[in-house]
Amino acid sequence: MKFTAIAGACLSLLSSVAADANITAPSSSKVALPSTFKPPQVFKNANLVHVVSLEKNFAKESINVLIENVSPEPQDEYFLPFTSEQMEKVGGIEVKDRKSADVVGFTVEAVEFDPLSDTQYYRIRLPAPLSPKSQQTLGISFHYLRALSPLPAAIEQADKQYLLYAFSAYCPSAYPTLKQKTEVKLPSADIPDYTTIAGSGDVKEFPVKQGSKLIYGPFPEVPAGAVSAIKVRFESTKPVTHVSHLERDIEVSHWGGNVAFEERYTLFNHGANLSAQFNRVKWAQSQYFNPQTYALKEMKIPLRVGSKDAYFTDVIGNVSTSRFRSNKREAVLELKPRYPVFGGWKYPFTIGWNADTKFFLKKSASNYLLNVPLLEGPKQAEGVEYGQVQVRVLLPEGADNVKFYTTAPESSITGHSVDLERTYLDTVGRTVLTIKARNLVDDFRDRELIVSYDYSTMAGLRKPLIIFSSMISIFVGIWAISKVDL
């Protein structure tokens, strides 16, 4: 296990085609450590700025921390603590060096030790060990899904929706922190309730409220693992869109020169439920002056330019309320669900479109390089979060030596496999690369997935030959039968 992790690290360091898919990779990148594990106190956080941004309907946190090696020998393992239920919700952990952008190769793995312990860790491995007394500025960013809960949980159709978020004023850290402050960015200035704590220095009470922004701190030194629970309740009358499952199929056809995309969403609105039943009259009247609502009315899905014949269906057929605008500059798919999706409601649907291979496929000799977005899907102001994502890349029949590389944080890739599937008059079946990911958000829309595979001309000619010969045999058979009949 450790080996693959390191191998992955080095390969991604080379930023070339990585993670040879033919060897079965671990279901998720985890390091196993003895159950009595405690992070060695080798670092201290000289200065830390913790930004909690709640503009979208998931919690996005970024920690900018100046770490200093306080141990005699060089260290390259920095541990990041989470509570066990945060571990379920956290995703997309990324680390970079704030000072210089060209320092790359930070790897992040979940630490696997005592499953019962409430504190779990992610381990950040620095690209180069940090020598004693020296410092480095890390920019750590991640997000929590299903982190915002509506309060009150059930409201009227036209009411404002208020969301509640609970976090800690002291940034959770495995190391003592000398100086830190926590900024909370909120979508609106309407913040009815937030926890206040005793201030320090010249400020007598935290937080300091600046418009739609709350600032806790700066705080003096706090020991490792110090917590001070904070609850913020703020107005956000937008749908809390949660896609529990997304299945994304990308089918490459060399003969058709076509790449077919299909995405199957299981979409929920985790916003506040309706306290009374849905009232069409009020809804229809409210549509004239279209107010903020927490019901999901419409989704815009920007596609790559050149996408064509898009469709939008659900389990009982085509949904006629969709528009697809495609021209030289843009290709936007606008979806209206059959009904406004209120809090607690569900709306599974399927969309798909085609695009020309020339936008995605590069050929060198018999080797092909496919470059597609890992994630497309709705681009909403309020954001969309994805629980489980499964991306299947259907390569043409006979493609082999499949490798892939993605720019998405690899801590959210939980597994991948390569197998065969038989469709459309296949004989051996075409190669399918399946990638599983979890806890993604729509910030990763632009992350790309690069797949490389070999595909020989002979394999390309297989199907036409087989079809031709079988048709011939059928006709000959019929002819023979008719002769017999005479």
């Binding site: 309060l151 009150p152 009411d159 208020y162 009815p192 309730d193 309740r233 009374a276 039943q277 849905f278 009232n279 069409r280 009259v281 229809a284 659900d314 389990v315 009982i316 057929g317 085509n318 949904v319 006629s320 309320t321 059959r338 009904y339 409601w345 569900k346 709306y347 599974p348 038989r422 469709t423 459309y424 008059l425 296949d426 059928i474 006709f475 019929i478 039968i481 008719s482 009949d485 005479l486």
Partner: protein
């Protein structure tokens, strides 16, 4: 299709066995047939092109659901499928109460394609099954007609007619996935095989006929038409003194094997020996044995008196058998005719006794425009063709005549039976048209004959007057002048062109809308799709609990089962009149009466269809009287039709409406909250075209759960018992009072609770 016709080219080579360039002829025929089949398929695709590949109106949704079940669970589970999601709480023994032919057919096609690793969706198979089979039907019509006439063009004409006649298209457009989709092909093909068996008198053809008859029985309740027509044909032949061993062999093979085959279908079971519909077949079976015996004896014993005696005896036995049959029926050993079937003879029967049957629009009698609409010029070529069948009255022509008479009678009684008439119309019309064209499309003209033939031909005329038709007494000479040829040929071509135009127009305008999706034209002429049904069904499917019982009028049962996937109380398979009447009562009574009924049946949601906003006339208020009548049939004291009319006997929904009407659940559910959509005094029902009272109805035991965008579908949630134990009227009025009082400061306490 191409493959099929290729395969069929072999027998056709047999047919066209003269002429040295017969192979080119065959090739031409194959090509023409392929084109006809293609045209037949293409002309049925309007709805797919306009809307999408979607299953149409009501029954197809059940067939579709059943097919999906078959594909998912396999044949044996399907065969004994007990469906507890319909007719709650009774459930339905679906496997034993349906005609499996359709589902099995499309299931087989599905698995065949899967074997070829063609990943086709089962829905698309179901949608396109009917057009595909219409191509086959055209081919079957070709074969049947070729049995009737020697003219080589008649068959092709018949195929073309069959392919595009609206009378058949009406039930076989893409998406109307109903039993008729395959049944008509089977009907025509069975008849073809019957004629073939009768002509050749071979057991093989008879067995084939029985085989397809079995398939037909497995596919459509209309098989009774074959079951009655073939014996009738046989009987008529015997009465015409045309008994022959060919008839004997063909009929007995068909009857024995066919009856056995039909009894394999659970839904049919022992009906072939225990119900009156099937008695003619049985009777003729016995009758033929007698006749055969007597024929044998006559050939053996050459005595005049003996013969007469035997004939008398024969008649006596036949009469006795008939009396016995009547006796058994009255004695109850043989089930009398089932209602649907009986209402064909006693046409006023259904109206009085079985309102459910009478309430179905396609069970209404047929007005003449419908005939012309569905058959256009064929309707007058048809009698001509029948007349020509009298020219040389072979056995097969007798069949056409008998079929024509009974087919047209049935079609006149019931609109939907236009379907069974259409094939014979196509055949007969094709015979007539081809004879016309053959006469007027020959280039070389005969020379004017001398006068001396006259008296000879007169003599022949006198002789042949007795047996043959008077019109055919003279020998054929042909048409002399090119003018007359050109004139008639031109006229016929014009008519045929108009016919094609007509068929296309009718198909695209009348028969191509999948009544699930409605299309309306925007002011700018663009098409606007009204998708309320699916909107509401999808809402039900996603946002109600898996086993929420939906109460609606039976028309929508299949759609709810298919699209919303929720249990229903009643559906379009109207096997239990009482249960339907219960729903009718719940809909037509006052809330206080309906609520206990709904509680007893564990109803969670009630679904009504309301067209008032859009002017959609097929809504529940317009069907309401049928609900009342059906309920009245069971509870004459509690539901009375006259109470729903105004004292002046009008059926009104506005402020003049009768009290019973205003208090009925259906009325309340349709108009609840409706007037609040309009400025005061403007509330209007666009179907009934009336102004509605400003004070809308008040619902106590139900609450509005969902209303679709154009208000076509309204879904109500049945309230649970009040948890303080008040009755709903009290509770509701209390709530209303509250709402008015503290609407403003509702948020205050909530926020406190939040902390």
């Amino acid at each position: 299709m191409a493959v099929a016709t290729d395969a069929s080219s072999a027998p056709m080579e047999l047919l066209v066995s003269v002429g040295k360039n017969q192979s080119t002829k065959t090739l031409l025929r194959v090509l023409i047939l392929c084109f006809i089949a293609a045209a037949a398929v293409a002309s049925r695709l309007f709805s797919v092109i306009r809307f999408e590949s979607i299953i149409h109106e009501f029954d197809p949704w059940f067939n579709f659901r059943a097919t999906k079940y078959l594909v998912a669970h396999g044949f044996y589970d399907f065969w004994n499928w007990f469906d507890d999601r319909t007719w709650h709480p009774l459930g339905r023994v679906t496997g034993g109460t349906l005609y499996p032919g359709l589902m099995v057919t499309s299931g087989a096609i599905y698995h065949a394609l899967r074997a070829l690793t063609v990943p086709v969706d089962i829905r698309n198979i179901c949608v396109l099954l009917a057009p595909a089979f219409s191509g086959l039907t055209a081919f079957a019509a070709y074969l049947l007609t070729n049995e009737m006439t020697t003219s080589s063009s008649a068959g092709l004409l018949a195929a073309a007619f069959m392919g595009i006649t609206p009378g058949y298209i009406s039930r076989s457009v893409a998406g109307s996935y109903d039993n008729e989709a395959i049944a008509i092909f089977l009907l025509v093909y069975t008849f073809y095989l019957w004629i073939k068996a009768l002509k050749v008198g071979s057991v093989m053809w008879g067995a084939l006929c029985a085989l397809f008859y079995g398939y037909m029985v497995a596919s459509w309740g209309g098989y009774a038409f074959i079951t009655c027509l073939i014996p009738l044909h046989a009987f008529v032949l015997v009465c015409m003194g045309r008994f022959s061993n060919r008839l004997y062999v063909a009929y007995n093979t068909w009857y024995a094997l066919g009856t056995l085959a039909s009894m394999q279908i659970p839904f049919v079971g022992f009906a072939p020996v225990s119900t009156s519909e099937h008695m003619p077949a049985l009777g003729i079976f016995g009758f033929l044995q007698l006749v055969a015996f007597l024929e044998y004896v006559r050939s053996a014993v050459p005595s005049r008196q003996f013969q007469t005696f035997l004939y008398v005896g024969l008649g006596g036995v036949f009469g006795v058998a008939l009396l016995g049959l009547v006796g058994l029926t009255t004695g109850g050993y043989i089930a009398p005719w089932s209602g649907r079937f009986y209402s064909l003879w006693d046409t006023s029967y259904a109206k009085i006794h079985i309102p459910i049957i009478a309430s179905v629009s396609e069970h209404q009698p047929t007005a003449w425009p419908a005939f012309f609409f569905d058959l256009n010029m064929l309707i007058w070529l048809f009698p001509a063709g029948v007349y020509m069948c009298f020219q040389k009255l072979e056995d097969e022509h007798v069949f056409v005549i008998v079929y024509a008479l009974f087919g047209s009678y049935f079609a006149g009684v019931m609109v939907r039976l236009m379907l069974t008439l259409t094939p014979v119309v196509c055949v007969a019309a094709a015979i007539a048209a081809s004879q016309l064209l053959d006469t007027y499309l020959v280039y070389k003209s005969p020379v004017a004959p001398e006068a001396k033939e006259e008296e000879v031909t007169d003599g022949t005329a006198k002789k042949s007057k007795q047996s043959a038709l008077r019109s055919t007494s003279q020998p054929v000479v042909g048409i002399y002048t090119l003018i007359s040829k050109g004139f008639i040929a031109g006229a016929m071509t014009l008519f045929l062109l108009i016919f094609v135009q007509h068929c296309t127009w009718v198909t695209s305008n009348a028969y191509s809308s999948p009544s699930v999706v409605l299309a309306s034209r925007m002011p700018d002429g663009s098409q606007h799709i009204i998708d309320d049904y699916r909107e509401a069904y999808q809402w039900l499917r996603q946002n109600t609990k898996e086993d929420a019982k939906i109460m609606s009028w039976w028309d929508y049962g299949y759609q709810i089962g298919g699209m919303a996937d929720r249990p229903t109380l009643v559906d379009n398979n109207t096997w239990n009149n009482t249960h339907i009447a219960t729903v009718g009562k719940a809909m037509s009574s006052r809330e206080e009466v309906s609520y206990p009924i709904m509680r007893q049946h564990e109803v969670d949601y009630v679904l009504v269809v309301f067209g008032g906003l859009l002017g959609y006339s097929g809504d529940d208020i317009n069907k309401f009287l049928w609900m009342v009548r059906i309920a009245e049939g069971i509870w004459p004291d509690e539901v009375k039709e006259r109470d729903y009319f105004t004292p002046r006997g009008e059926y009104r929904v506005d402020s003049e409406a009768s009290e019973t009407m205003k208090n009925s659940l259906m009325y309340k559910m349709s108009y609840y909250n409706y007037c609040s959509l309009f400025p005061p005094g403007q509330a209007q029902d666009r179907v009934r075209g009336v102004r509605l009272p400003d004070q809308g109805p008040v619902l106590n035991t139900l609450e509005e759960a969902y209303t679709s965008e154009n208000w076509i579908i309204r879904i109500y949630k049945v309230k649970d018992l009040d948890n303080v134990g008040r009755d709903h009227a009290l509770a509701a009025s209390f709530d209303r009072g509250n709402k008015k009082k503290k609407a403003g400061k509702k948020r205050g306490p909530r926020v406190l609770r939040a902390e």
